[in-house]
Amino acid sequence: MSLLLYCVAKPSALQDESQPGVAGTPVSRIEGSNLAAFVSRNDHHEVWLRTPLSTSALEFHRVLTGLFKSAAIIPFRFPTILESDQELAELLNQRSSEYNTLLSKFENWTQMEAQVSYSNPGGPAPTESGTEYLLERQRRQRTLADFGSELGSAISVAGEWRHRSMKSGLRCFALVERNRIAQFKERMQSISVPAGLKVRVSGPWPVTEFLDPN
């Protein structure tokens, strides 16, 4: 019997029993090692990987969102499939200390995300010379980097702020307390975005980017 693993949470996490899992398979709670794991069971794991895969991924997301409303969760990447309950029990036993530490640490926290990208992702407009083109490209990169730093220092409501450089721009992550999400959004709204850049703010998401054991 295969298990599709959605997430782990503290045993106090509330589950909406009416929320079906991926491919309509029921979501079960399995407790062990002071953790609650949420899984679906099926004899054939292929059922969770049916095409189009995006449908299964969205169903997976809905289960996570439902659980995240009531508690901190540690989500697993879709599709994480275990072979048996025994394998899950071993996992919970092995990682109990790490997961319990993380769940306590992020009990009241969420992750907000800001994706900063160029308004014109195709690159600088064509110029008369190669030098001009390179200078314009440099200017774009500097604007992006400066704005990323400015965001981090301006968002004082964030407990922590990290960013990663992406091909399309910057991906910024902020740790924000559940009761300060509105404040975070207000603060973001007050920031002036430089010409040539666009920002997409999303969340609250379960904390994933800050799941360092220490």
């Binding site: 295969s2 693993l5 997430c7 054939h44 794991h45 292929e46 990987l49 049916r50 095409t51 189009p52 895969l53 995006s54 991924a57 969205l58 997976f60 997301h61 996570l64 969102t65 540690i74 989500p75 697993f76 990447r77 879709f78 599709p79 994480t80 499939i81 275990l82 072979e83 394998e87 996992l91 308004s119 959004k185 973001m188 709204q189 920031i191 002036s192 975005v193 430089p194 010409a195 040539g196 850049l197 666009k198 920002v199 997409r200 703010v201 999303s202 969340g203 609250p204 998401w205 379960p206 994933t208 980017e209 799941l211």
Partner: protein, 77 residues
């Protein structure tokens, strides 16, 4: 000097006016804990979880097409 400014949009964490399918898929497929060594997602011998979003989508769907054409046992680890 241009006085034009950039733009900022806000989205939630569910499909809505401003939330794209790609945002959600990115979080489900590219965020979250990876269990090294505990996964049974080696369809067609490909460790899907370590691949990028686009490749995952393509690889799984290609693999599933292969599976449906082959014997069901071929999908097992």
């Amino acid at each position: 000097m241009s006085t034009e400014t950039g733009s900022m949009v806000f989205a939630g964490n569910d499909l809505g006016d401003e939330m794209s399918l790609l945002d959600l898929l990115d979080h489900v497929l590219d965020q979250g804990v990876i269990l090294r060594g505990n996964l049974v997602i080696s369809l067609a011998g490909v460790d899907l979880v370590y691949l990028g979003l686009d490749v995952v989508l393509t690889s799984v769907e290609t693999a599933m097409r292969h599976i449906t054409r082959s014997a069901p046992a071929a999908a097992k680890k």
